[in-house]
Symmetry: C2
């Protein structure tokens, strides 16, 4: 006879290898539970999962045996059999960005409440990490929440073709079959424009973001459109591109003010940038808000803590996280069809645009 005699994995090998140092016994399997409870394996399985009706006495015996033996279901086996992993993939650019960290926290909690694990990938804005992550997740998760910094249909379409439920969040990804949960970035940009004009801005600087970021494109577009609607001429609108980070904001505003010293109002794509911009402006001898109005986007908690406190467009991150998980789980468990939800943003007026 052929067949394996290996006892794979990290528990003690009985073979000649015996390399695994860890003490301990092999995990308790369903078979062990069934034998201990004097029922069949299928009865044990059904007693634990509730997949079909089982006698009260059997349930009792099985549950006690399971507890007594410390049984933990082997997820890999269940996953292989059912095709479901009870895991959600979460692909996100940067967990150290407070806005995204909040989303991760909320998403993990909601997923956990629904019985799903979360497999996290932090792409650090690298397109190849995003692509590679998707390829690897396809066989190991039931659905994907994708914060894409590099919307690449060639990377996503294969998963969609396989029927993988996916919801794009935050960064827009327009693809048939892909759900979406976004903020109204264009509307937010427009609100920023109107507010900065009302606050007394005359020459405007836009701290945009990398070209592949749809949020950056939309916020920039909304901002310039809003300014134009208020009668601001294009030669009084200056745009500069910078990473979505504190340092990006510092460096961006340095370039912006060097090229256009007459800028007196700045809209940044993220609070991280806006805060960096505020600090750099201070170091350059500009007083916010008197010499320079600054408005951000996100409303991270630090925005109300710095001095001057930062005017910003608040995204409903809790609502978005909740809707995204709900939408994805609906696709996973009920096979619903993908939807797109757009959340309004709210202007939070603070000191950085309040001239004395």
């Amino acid at each position: 006879m052929g067949g394996s005699s290996a006892t794979p994995g990290w528990w003690p090998e009985k073979g000649p290898g015996m390399k695994v140092v860890a003490p301990g016994r092999a995990p308790v399997t369903l078979k062990d539970v069934a034998e201990h409870a004097n029922v069949s394996i299928s009865t044990a399985s059904n007693a634990l999962t509730g997949a079909r009706k089982v006698g009260a006495a059997s349930i009792e015996k099985v549950l006690r045996s399971a507890a007594e033996l410390g049984y933990q279901r082997n997820e890999a086996a269940r996953s292989l059999r059912t095709g479901l992993s009870n895991t959600l993939g979460l692909v996100i650019p940067d967990v150290t960005n407070p806005f995204w960290a909040g989303m991760v926290s909320a998403i993990e909690r909601l997923a956990g409440e629904a019985g799903f694990q979360v497999s996290l990938v932090n792409t650090e804005f690298a397109p190849q990490r995003e692509t590679a992550a998707l390829a690897r997740l396809v066989t190991s998760v039931d659905g994907v929440l994708l914060f894409s910094t590099n919307p690449d249909a060639a990377a996503v379409q294969p998963l969609l073709d396989l029927g993988m439920p996916m919801v794009a969040v935050d960064e827009r990804f327009d693809l048939e079959g892909l759900g979406g949960v976004y903020s109204d970035n264009t509307g937010g940009g427009r609100l920023a424009a109107e507010h900065l004009v009302d606050a007394g801005g005359t020459v405007f600087g836009m701290l945009g973001g990398p070209g592949t970021l749809t949020t950056a494109a939309e916020r920039t577009a909304g901002f310039t459109a809003g300014l134009r609607e208020r009668g601001i001429d294009v030669d009084r609108i200056h745009t500069v591109v910078a990473p979505y980070s504190f340092e990006g904001g510092r460096e961006g505003v340095r370039r912006l003010l060097a090229a256009h010293p007459d800028v007196d109002a700045i809209f940044a794509c993220t609070d991280n940038q806006a805060i960096g911009a505020t600090f750099e402006a201070h170091d350059l001898g500009r007083v916010v808000p008197d010499d320079l109005l600054v408005c951000g986007f996100d409303d991270i908690s630090w925005s109300s803590r710095i001095s001057p406190s930062l005017t910003t467009l608040r995204q409903d991150s809790a609502g978005m996280a909740s809707r995204a998980v709900e939408m994805l789980l609906d696709l996973v468990t009920a096979g619903g069809s993908p939807e797109v939800a757009v959340f309004p943003v709210e202007l939070i007026e603070r000191d950085s645009t309040r001239r004395r």
Copy 2:
């Protein structure tokens, strides 16, 4: 005959159910690849994994077939067979805390480079979430990085008994068989004490943390020991307990100063707390550093951005993350024996303890 005719999972069912809406075909299996390449299934497997020697021609054929068919290995099946999931569990209290967010980012990158996924659990300091997470991870990951806010041997010992490689990080967990990567919290507390005395502090406030946090206990112990060594009497040392958050710092310092208005130097267990304390002190009419010296712990990026910039004890988060992953992977792949590493902390002197 028995046997299943189900086509499980999220790809199209052929059965009468037909509830899954998603279009697409069933995933390509290794068998498909082998047939397409005209080799046996084991040759295909070995060509892809390199587990044993395969002829160059076969490798060529298999790789081309795999690429052509878009083959992705079924991780559940591989995991069931080998007992390895290529996944690391990461149990952490709060990803919105910048210090922990940085650790998550570094850990995910290092794990990814080694070919491991990361299953994230954000416990939000809830003991039951931590316990539940460990129970669930035991069958689905190859190793666990545990930032425990509730070191409970009863929850961890079962995993250790099963031989699960585990490394405690940041928060100490003294248990035979458990690896550890910590900062020298006691030494850090002592450094803070010496620095605050040198900076002119006379009555000292300690913003401690919840009782189950070992970092809080160690930093507090080091701080008071350091003060005693400098001849400070116990009645000039006042300790208050507060959560590891900005709001915790605000609220803690409010209580502290209400009870002991003569406090003129504060050491907080985390920068989050210290920054909250600084803001609250400001709101209470105290000037930092002139009326009140403040020293934090962590050196999150915001500490150098606020005004006044925050003196703090820098933890080597990159080094710790790297060492923790390395240690865990060593346990997982080489079966090494668990070690404990303690990283020194460094005093970063900034404006919050520099009197003019």
